[in-house]
């Protein structure tokens, strides 16, 4: 196996399924009613049920942190445990943390603006400001786990999760780190939800039954929220320490043009053919424009030769859910003879991506 192949050896998630270590399994989730802010009638989303991070990671202090920071800490702890990784035996200067997020710490950004609205900009709350920074979650992961390698936070609209995987791969292949904790996450807040409503992009399912991507009844998306952490390291390194391997990242391509899906998907196949693909993990979300665009890519590149799964059906839409879609889909894979998973990402505002993974 090429040293450029990078294995996912640990998984931690905070999602509508709750905080979980390892694969999610074939679980079901349900839309929850928004109660965190006043709404004009019933509003639903794929929300993370409130939980105490210290109940999952004993001793973890998150009271003053943005929810995204707390979730990233929990997801990281779960992923490290899942990877059977003892950081005391690692060179922590050679471990990278890469976070992909669409909106960062938007909850405490709103709180800081609330403070400015109440008291004026000259009297805003000093406790809040550092926690509004987009890189705060990744920085807290470094601080709490003593990780001193590259610490990167990137934003790539609806491809933020895919971007984090690509960035981590670039660091590992470029020799900047030996191991990466790849994080992706976003929380849902009132300013976001009401912006989606103002943009008329939400499904009626946000206040009625759920939408079905690709179906004739699709009428928009339902928002979601989550944080995912995976441990990524070279396949050789994973094998030498006897780590569990969920999937191995082969290659990926991204383009800023959302219409370039066919080209990036073909490049990501990298010599393999559609019958090698165990599953195409779509990013379709129930909005007609996105479904039509990605559907055309799937038809042209894969024909009817590869099964397609659309995890946003049960995870909802968020800018950084690419890695979570991969993790969720792995539990639904059948036809073990096929070696590949193809993670597609399409963002009408951000472009498109295709990442291929070799499965166990």
């Amino acid at each position: 196996m090429s040293p450029h192949q990078l294995s996912i050896t640990g998984i931690g998630t905070v999602s509508p399924f709750g905080p979980l270590r390892g694969l999610i399994g074939q679980r079901k989730t349900e839309l929850r009613t928004v109660t965190a802010w006043p709404t004009d009638g019933v509003r639903r989303a794929f929300l993370v049920e409130p939980f105490r991070p210290a109940d999952v990671v004993p001793g973890l202090k998150t009271r003053r942190l943005d929810r995204l920071s707390g979730w990233c800490l929990v997801a990281t702890a779960l992923a490290l445990a899942d990877a059977r990784l003892d950081l005391n035996g690692e060179n922590r200067s050679r471990i990278a943390v890469v976070l992909g997020t669409g909106f960062g710490c938007i909850e405490l950004t709103e709180a800081f603006l609330q403070s400015a609205a109440a008291n004026g900009y000259a009297q805003a709350d000093p406790i809040l400001f550092p926690e509004t920074l987009t890189n705060a979650p990744a920085a807290h992961v470094a601080r709490v786990f003593g990780i001193r390698g590259p610490n990167i936070t990137l934003s790539h609209k609806g491809l933020s999760g895919e971007g984090a995987v690509m960035q981590a791969a670039s660091l590992l292949r470029g020799g900047q780190a030996d191991l990466a904790i790849v994080l992706a996450g976003d929380t849902l807040t009132r300013t976001m939800y009401e912006w989606f409503e103002a943009a008329a992009v939400l499904s009626r399912a946000a206040s009625a039954p759920a939408p079905v991507p690709f179906s004739p009844q699709r009428d928009g998306f339902v928002p979601g929220e989550s944080a995912t952490a995976v441990v990524m390291e070279s396949a050789d390194r994973a094998r030498s320490r006897g780590a569990p391997v969920y999937a191995t990242f082969r290659t990926g391509f991204m383009a800023s043009d959302p219409n370039a899906g066919v080209s990036v998907a073909r490049r990501a196949l990298a010599g393999s053919s559609p019958p090698d693909v165990r599953m195409v993990i779509a990013s379709t979300n129930g909005s007609a424009a996105l479904d039509d665009l990605e559907g055309a890519t799937i038809r042209e590149v894969f024909g009817g030769e590869a099964p397609v799964i659309a995890p946003k059906t049960f995870l909802g839409e968020s800018d950084s859910c690419g890695i979570l879609r991969l993790i969720a889909a792995l539990s639904w894979a059948d036809n073990q003879a096929r070696p590949l998973a193809m993670l597609l990402g399409t963002s009408l505002a951000g472009g498109c991506a295709a990442l291929s993974f070799e499965l166990r």
Binding site: S93, V97, G102, F103, G104, T109, E110, F112, L113, Q114, A116, A117, G120, Y121, A122, Q123, A124, D125, P126, F129, P130, E131, L133, T134, N135, A136, A139, A142, R143, F145, I147, R148, G149, P150, N151, I152, T153, L154, S155, H156, K157, L159, S160, G163, Q167, S170, R173, G174, R190, T191, E194, W195, A198, M254, A255, S256, D257, A260, G350, A353
Partner: protein
């Protein structure tokens, strides 16, 4: 000697700073020791007296793109990117490039606190379109749209190390063959949000800042953007591009220490400098100048001095160091990129620029403080370092192309 396919060349630089548009404006302002630090005028956020900042009074027009609303941060990024790309746009594979653009503020420049009281009403009252520029990816998207780039365009946000880190990440991408060329840099505009934040932390100097001075009181915020065109030296030579500098080494570390304070011994920063020198294959004596992070805050500057003492231990002579934030303030996500541009200007003009307002520096036998006036001195290899909230550090080492065989 390193192979040219592994070396990263800088073949374009675009800058808009409080000195104005272009490298020449930056260079002449630095050479004249002209401070841009003055009371804020471009908006009124309720301070009396207004804070001292470095602002860009007028932004040149860049035209429109359908469906795009530019924030002030986006606007700065587009100006710098257009100028950076000027010499590369005719290259056959330029449009396959991507962009990594750093920011901390992004579209917060366009958003008022009223958004949180009743978002739906705020959007109906005209705030809907301006909110589209909120995300940290928006400046990169704007650069991609204005230049017609087809490669990936993403934003990087790691507080004040963002701009330098964007350059390092893009360098990895061209070196590993992910893209033939990349645009990389940083952009941030002055905003009430960030002024309020640093004011709440008592980190602002009410007067022009004095980095590394014993009497320093804090920082002044600035605004600007710097964007670079990066490609392998092999690619640059194949298209006969003018090489402005070689990015010879880079490294990124984290203090893993505190949300806002740096490691008191500067361990993460010194480790990033040492790793960058190791990657570049240069000894501490080969580096002729460090453009420092040098914010002027009490904690940062002391930790930074300790980092230099560790990283350059064993060097034959004290390291020349200055903070050009004393000219144009702390431009946050743009700072590392702007200071990389300053370092390259220093190398190409054989001129080391001083720290303004520095009269009584922190004592250190390891450092040759550059004060008062520019120093004429050949500079084949220069370094710039950046650090930020959350403990992120990035060091970049540049060299002039003709120096390659001698290092």
């Amino acid at each position: 000697m390193a192979r040219s396919s592994n070396l990263v060349a800088i073949t374009g630089i675009g800058v808009i700073s409080p000195f104005g548009r272009g490298l020449n404006a930056l260079s002449s302002g630095l050479l004249a020791c002209r401070s841009c630090l003055k009371p804020l005028t471009i908006f009124d956020a309720g301070w009396n007296p207004p804070p001292v900042v470095a602002e860009i009074p007028e932004l040149p027009e860049v035209g429109d793109r359908s469906g795009f609303r530019l924030s002030r941060t986006d606007h700065l990024a587009v100006i710098a990117a257009l100028d950076a790309a000027e010499a590369a746009r005719d290259c056959s594979d330029f449009l396959e490039s991507g962009a990594v653009i750093a920011t901390t503020v992004a579209g917060l420049t366009e958003i008022a606190p009223a958004i949180v009281s009743n978002p739906a009403q705020y959007y109906r009252a005209g705030g809907f379109a301006s909110a589209t520029s909120y995300q940290a990816s928006h400046p990169a998207d704007a650069v991609g749209a204005w230049l017609g780039l087809r490669g990936p365009c993403w934003g990087v946000s790691v507080a004040c190390a963002s701009g330098a880190m964007a350059i390092a990440l893009a360098a990895d991408m061209v070196r590993t063959g992910y893209a033939p060329m990349m645009l990389a840099g940083g952009s941030d505009a002055l905003a009430p949000f960030t002024l309020s934040g640093f004011n709440s932390l008592r980190a602002l100097d009410p007067d022009p800042c004095r980095p590394f001075d014993k009497s320093r009181k804090g920082l002044n915020l600035g605004e600007g953007a710097a964007v670079f065109v990066l490609e392998t030296l092999e690619h640059a030579k194949a298209r006969n591009a003018k090489v402005l500098a070689i990015l010879r080494g880079w490294a990124m570390t984290n203090d893993a220490f505190h949300p806002t304070a740096p490691d008191e011994q500067g361990r993460g920063l010194s480790e990033s400098m040492a790793s960058a020198m190791a990657m570049a294959g240069v000894a501490p004596d080969a580096v002729g100048y460090v453009n420092s992070h040098g914010t002027g805050t009490p904690l940062n500057d002391v930790a930074e001095v300790k980092a230099y003492e560790t990283a350059f231990r064993g060097r034959g002579s004290p390291m020349p160091v200055s903070s050009t934030k004393s000219f144009f303030g702390h431009c946050l996500g743009a700072a590392g990129a702007l200071e990389a541009a300053v370092t390259i200007v220093s190398m190409r003009s054989s001129t080391l620029f001083p720290t303004l307002q520095l009269t009584d520096p922190i004592e250190s036998p390891a450092i040759d403080w550059l004060m008062a006036r520019p120093r004429r001195q050949p500079l084949p290899v220069g370094m710039t370092v950046s650090a930020g909230f959350g403990g992120s550090n990035t060091s970049l080492i540049f060299e002039l192309e003709g120096n390659l065989d001698r290092v």
